[in-house]
Amino acid sequence: MNGVGPAGGGGVTGPGRPLDRPRGHLCCLYRDEAHRRRVTATFVEDALGSGERVMYVSGRHRPAAVLRALHEDGVEVDPALRSGQLVVRPLDDLPSARPLRVDELERQVRESVDLARADGFPGLRLATEMTRVRDALGSFEQLLAWERLAGELRREVAVTTVCQYEECLLEEAEAVLIEAEHTGAAPELGVVPLARLLAVDRPFGLRVSGELDLSNRQELVRALEARAAVNPEIQLDLKGLSFIDVGSLRAIYEVASRLPEGGRIVLVDLAGPVRRVIDLAGLCHERVEIVS
């Protein structure tokens, strides 16, 4: 572009590009524990930014240790745990005879996706420690068969996955085959999503913090619609929201206007800038209530 100078405002940081964000059927061949933790924290943060449920299937690490690590890495785990947006469970929970069958794993994933939707989440993110899965499946061939099926499942039911492998436990040839079954490597940039869309159970709804604009408007709409599908009376807590554009505000009103009889969206705890946009945009709808 002519006339555009160098990017000004040195040191200005923003949210990551789409490529920096975990999407697809990703793998993480982790070199060390720090690497695995960065990938996990990035993955969980991004899930909370999208309003989706994130399930961590642990292997060697106990669930309590996983949660402690997430907390230490700056992820606010407690509210997400309370509403079931974050679930950590050991692979041993799977009620299955050994060796574990690939179709049993598939059934588990499908059920988890259905359950996520039934609980009011727009989708499921799945992080799995794979070393124990490999052991449970009994062979590398079965593991590869599972990874191939997981790739297909990902496309079919729109689940985002990170399969975590301890790099030192894989032969070089195995690592190549595993990587080939994935759409890419899981990011570990610590990219914080622009907003956090946190499911809340009582009162039922969504708590949004951060900023809402064109880049995450669709995620907001998906999260609201998923909540509304369970209970059309939603409380939208905007206390931590520091910026909203008119389009995103209008999107909230549009979701409200599509709610069934008796449905409504109650906006609570509006910060000054959000109030200002509501005033300026002059929006109003019988199914949107504003409570200060």
Binding site: G5, A7, G8, V12, T13, P15, D213, L214, S215, G247
Partner: protein, 321 residues
């Protein structure tokens, strides 16, 4: 009782002496009151006093607005006027409006914005039963302002007589000709906007530039909102390459958004979007939150400039109109 403004007029009263002002405005208001029309006057306190004296008891039927207070609300007055007058005209019968701002003390960005708004008023109120009389004090106003007022009003009023203005120009033509869009200075803080993910970066850049320019927090937050809306428009409707430039012109903070698209109507900077419009709402937000706004095109594409004045000591914060 002359002149009687017919419904739907937009005239300029160019005066030099207080007596010319009082008789011109007084007659205009009296004929409105006689016709039981609603009358609104925006003037400074001194002139409101003159009109009270001239109208006597009839002054109680006039809605007076203190210009100092209104001007303190800066660019936001535009929205209020257009919306209130538009709604008022539709619901409350014919309306008469007198306006005047002391442009001699305003920065050039705001003067240009005001004059373009005058041109756009011909479109905004065209066909509505609203009679607007805009007062211009030729003893203090710069020659260019008086000349522009003849170009933006189809008729002028002098010595009680209505004259067709031979210098009147179609609003879009006037607005395009008065565009002051230039290439951003080389030291502007700039950012290429390629995707929606860049909006947060743009807001961060603006926040830091607004803080350097010592914009009050509310104004900074308004500018950030306005810029985000204009950039979102450029992303959704415009064409790459798109860029944001932030710089100061004198003590005015300018946020300049460019994209390679064409076809953004320069009048859109001054008029509310139609009820059903899919685009243009963002611009209307920007119009309400900035001190001045302009749109122009050149062979390189579309330019939108949002302008914020520095805070003035003791300035009242905007409130409802």
């Amino acid at each position: 009782m002359t002149p009687v403004a017919s419904p739907g007029s937009h005239r300029a009263l160019i005066y030099e002496q207080p007596t010319e002002y009082v008789s011109g405005i007084g007659d205009f208001l009296r004929s409105g009151l006689t016709n039981e029309e609603r009358t609104v006057v925006m003037a400074d306190r001194r002139k409101i006093g003159w009109l009270h004296e001239d109208l006597g008891a009839a002054a109680s039927g006039v809605d007076f607005l203190d210009a100092a207070e209104t001007v303190a609300r800066r660019g936001r007055v535009a929205r209020s006027l257009i919306e209130r007058l538009g709604e008022g005209a539709l619901s409350g019968g014919p309306l008469r409006v007198v306006t005047e701002e002391d442009l001699s003390v305003r920065p050039s960005h705001v003067v240009r914005d005001y004059l373009c708004m005058e041109a756009a008023a011909n479109v905004a109120y065209g066909g509505l039963p609203i009679s607007i009389l805009c007062a211009y004090d030729a003893s203090v106003a710069p020659v260019e302002v008086i000349s522009a007022c003849r170009s933006t009003h189809p008729e002028t009023l002098r010595g009680g007589a209505v004259q067709e203005s031979s210098e009147y120009r179609p609003p879009a033509e006037f607005i395009m000709a008065s565009s002051a869009i230039v290439a951003p200075p080389s030291d502007a803080a700039s950012l290429e906007i390629e995707a929606a993910e860049d909006l947060a970066r743009a807001r961060a850049l603006l926040r830091s530039e607004a803080a350097s320019a010592r914009l009050p927090p509310e104004d900074a937050s308004d500018l950030v909102l306005a810029a985000d809306e204009v950039l979102t428009n450029a992303l959704v409707h415009g064409r790459a390459p798109r860029a944001l430039h932030v710089y100061c012109e004198g003590d005015v903070l300018v946020c300049h958004v460019r994209d390679a698209g064409h076809g953004l109507d320069p009048l859109a900077a001054y008029l509310p979007p139609p009820e059903y419009a899919l685009r243009g709402r963002g611009l209307w937000i920007a119009r309400q939150t900035c001190d001045a706004l302009e749109i122009a095109s050149d062979p390189g594409g579309t330019h939108v400039r949002l302008m914020m004045l520095p805070a003035r000591a003791g300035e009242a914060q905007p409130a409802g109109f």
